[in-house]
Symmetry: C2
Amino acid sequence: MKLRHGSDAVNLVVVGSIGLDTIKTPAVTRRDILGGSVSYACAAASFFTSTGMVGVVGRDFPARYRAAFRTFHIDQQGLQSADGKTFRWSGVYERNLNNRRTLSTDLNVFADFAPDLPPVYRESPFLFLANIAPELQFRVLSQMRALRFVAADTMDLWIKTARPALLKVIRQVDMLLINDSEARELTGEEHLVQAARRVLALGPRYVIIKKGEHGSLLFSKHGLVLVPAYPVDEVHDPTGAGDAFAGGLMGVLARARRITPGTVRRAMVYGAMVASFTVEAFSLEKLQTIRRADIEARVRQFLRMIRC
Amino acid sequence: MKLRHGSDAVNLVVVGSIGLDTIKTPAVTRRDILGGSVSYACAAASFFTSTGMVGVVGRDFPARYRAAFRTFHIDQQGLQSADGKTFRWSGVYERNLNNRRTLSTDLNVFADFAPDLPPVYRESPFLFLANIAPELQFRVLSQMRALRFVAADTMDLWIKTARPALLKVIRQVDMLLINDSEARELTGEEHLVQAARRVLALGPRYVIIKKGEHGSLLFSKHGLVLVPAYPVDEVHDPTGAGDAFAGGLMGVLARARRITPGTVRRAMVYGAMVASFTVEAFSLEKLQTIRRADIEARVRQFLRMIRC
């Protein structure tokens, strides 16, 4: 398989947030580092396919972060720059990094963002609607002209505040990625397996339940698939793991001839491996140091761990 | 493979607690139901090998619970009856059944228990030291004459209150089963993979980290093995899942010609499946309704879920 980096076509379009994150872990605090769902997802996908990002930053967005996107060969035609400040998020992780508390969220330029896709993006066959307001996800979705497969992610905030718009998006996607507590919240069903089945009934062919460090589950009419997480030696920052998982997964799917439960399963393993690298450092810092071959090596190691 | 039920030899001896549990879940409260680590572990093991229990009950122990053990063909020669009341535990589960709070623990006859094994038990090649005071575990261990393989389980209480005795047990077993938070507590190491490696350094050849509904990990010098949990449709009572996992695992190991990382991996899958049945009802109620063939069918289903 040859990477299409450098060609003009964009095989996968990703829309989501781009932000400057301030993250406090028990070990360290990092300020205004590159974050946001589209940053992690595009970086992860870029190992596998030509990827374009849709989002907005403010005038204060550091040039070195644009340069970081370039090192991943991410197409930035869909990245708007607007008057105002870049989206900011800050959060703190507790002792074992499992629990996160949001300290502040400043939408800034995202408050008035109305994505308008570059023509080349509209022809892309793959679309990932990373975590962002469902109205924006829908706006991007409606501009696509040649979609083969679209996946969406979401979060508890939209379930609480934008349920009708979210349900409208969910009805139109092939795959929904959602974490376990959000699946319970969306459906009002405590039993995870039953919650997942109810999400499936909302429209998507595939529902992936993300359980963070405990892996993920795929539900479809073809049955259930379990993918454990790779046991990372030292987690430094879990931020963006779910976005990297989804981005890696979509990057691999975007190279598949046909999308079957088997392809999705394999893509989930790749996504999980990219996510496992992501959490070994802050921001995109670890992903910047690895190559496709490192991911392949970890996939092989992982397959040995789960072989029965 | 033929089951050895009915023969005089006991292939696996299990020591642990036997108690009357009062359990409150969001849906229901059940009083004085059959519980305790040895009850769950022996019932689970009994599907695979001839199993004998070591423990103590009071005069108030209901005859119907003795009869329940007989339906599993569990050998009860090692089950003492003492003047006094049976061990009692009560606990409450929160909404999604993940968090448990102990309401009360009454040791009763366990306070003065000093196990003295029947001669036939001393010749057993397999021993499982289920969760109980490490002094009692050690007392049983020292009476065994022909051990091929011994595993131990423990809990946070003993890490806090009986660390030296626990470490003495850990040094002498082939396998330690311990849950994730306990591994962190035992070693003072927050990173789970590193905590597991430190436990391995304490002596056992195999360390299994139990993560409840998130599955288990096996650590040995041969590397790491991941076994996800079976996604149960409706969990009714998680009590005893870890004990049933360990009991099922030891039951399968006790039938193996040689114990290798591959055998242990396979035994973990069986243990996980027995545990998944256990949580579908209270006490041993689900296990009483299934047969070995039901476990085998679920193993096959599970292997399809994790096949990559």
